[in-house]
Amino acid sequence: MSKLVSMHDAIAAHVRDGDSVIIEGFTHLIAYSAGHEIIRQRRRDLTLCRLTPDLIYDQMIAAGCARKMVFSWAGNPGAGSLFAFRRAVEGKAAPIELEEYSHFGMVARLSAGAAHLPFWALRNYAGTDLPVANPQIKTVTCPYTGEELATVPALNPDVAIVHVQRADIHGNAQVWGLLGTQKEAAFAATRVIVVCEEIVDEAVIRADPNRTIIPGLIVSAVVHEPWGAHPSYAQGYYDRDNEFYVNWEQVARDEASLARWLDAWVYGVKDRAEYIAKQPGLDERLKAKSRPSGVVDYGY
């Protein structure tokens, strides 16, 4: 049975007020289109989880969607600060609760979540202030070696949203280029929304099964959203819009200017197609130059 739905319907059905949500994707394949739809549908009290909140969570914080953020690096990659986040933390806007780890800690939390273990052990954090800032970072004594290891609790979000290059209507999803921690995030979550650049026939998936990172069996909804990751990128489809990230510093530094941006580019458009139609020239500026892979043989 097809799981293909519109972004509107996917968010309406699967993201509820008070949910913990993870939109994963490390610089690559960030599901901006889903974040914007969550803002348009005015979800509230969300716990936003992500290694790198990136501009998408800055926008969701500014729009009032977030109660809490669980993260490991909250900056504008390659450009500077997340200003809505900073205003909330520096006492200049409505506060949000923080739960902070390092990247390894977040990856470990998702690995535990995916494996349905209560925690994950790692060699980290001794001699730092991170466990002081976050009492959820604890230690355990290894029953085999007696060694003291750091632990982080499992992270099992209510919803994971993952942007991928291609998927079939059952939600079998394929990614190439940076893999981030999308697979762990999807397996750790209760519900999974897959957003894709292209819908392909199941036969395309079956022709290259090593490329599949998320099987349809854990997927609740599939959304076809070309350019859905802009201003992040999709390897082989379009480059990162670095200008957008750099210019964001100017947009977001001022609360009112960020609100105007949300009015124009999120509330002021119906969906991703309108958002893309509003900025002609993206194709010429960002379309990927082709670098096809070699072909492998799955024969036996």
Binding site: W73, G75, F85, E90, H103, L122, R123, Y245
Partner: protein
Amino acid sequence: MTADYTPKELMACVAARELRDGEVVFVGIGLPNLACNLARATHAPKLLLIYESGAVGAVPERLPVSVGDPSLVTGCIMVASMADVFQSFLQGGRIEVGFLGGAQVDRWGNINTTVVGGSYEHPKVRLPGSGGAAEIAVHARRLLIIGALSPRMFPADVDFVTSPGNRYHGTPRSAFKHPGAGPRRVITDRAILEANDDTGELELSALYPGETVESVRAQVGWPLAVRDALGSVEPPSAEELRLLRDVLDPKRLFLKG
């Protein structure tokens, strides 16, 4: 003497010279990234660059703006999931050199990229946080730090220890049994600081052209010890400058200032 290079350019060159051919380096963005790619273009063509985003053996054809830049993937030897990056590569002991920048670096090489001023709950300035820095500082066999000297950036004690240095509130690093040796050298825009082998304290070990012990001490928030035999640092070569300016960072993304 009129220098025909900027302090940042020299800093990038000095950092590049710290890397040995064939080493496996975990690369952070900004100047570390520039230095690694300069080293690869000069004396260390077999340097293996690993980025926390998962690109292993990256050979970027343009200067990556972020550690997740698509140019790191094209032509690399492996794209690892982030779980593999942190568990198998970093915790697995495969990383020889970690290379970090920081907002604040203290006397013991502790790095702060979390909060400045106020408290953790109510900071004056909120910084991005650890990213992969804490675990790089724990696991990389040796750690290089790069940053421009100033009293604000080099206080006696950082406001928050994000990434562990050689001593934490009086406890030596050895007590924590970290696999990595910790910060060995700090490459700045005026001098090289080096950790004392016994105490882990950062000391002045080499001066850049035109700098003096006093000019460096004035930029550091603790009574900086000075090694008996101070090293000197060669200015950038014409080839290093050509690579930095024309090939690696023509838009001066990371060299500005």
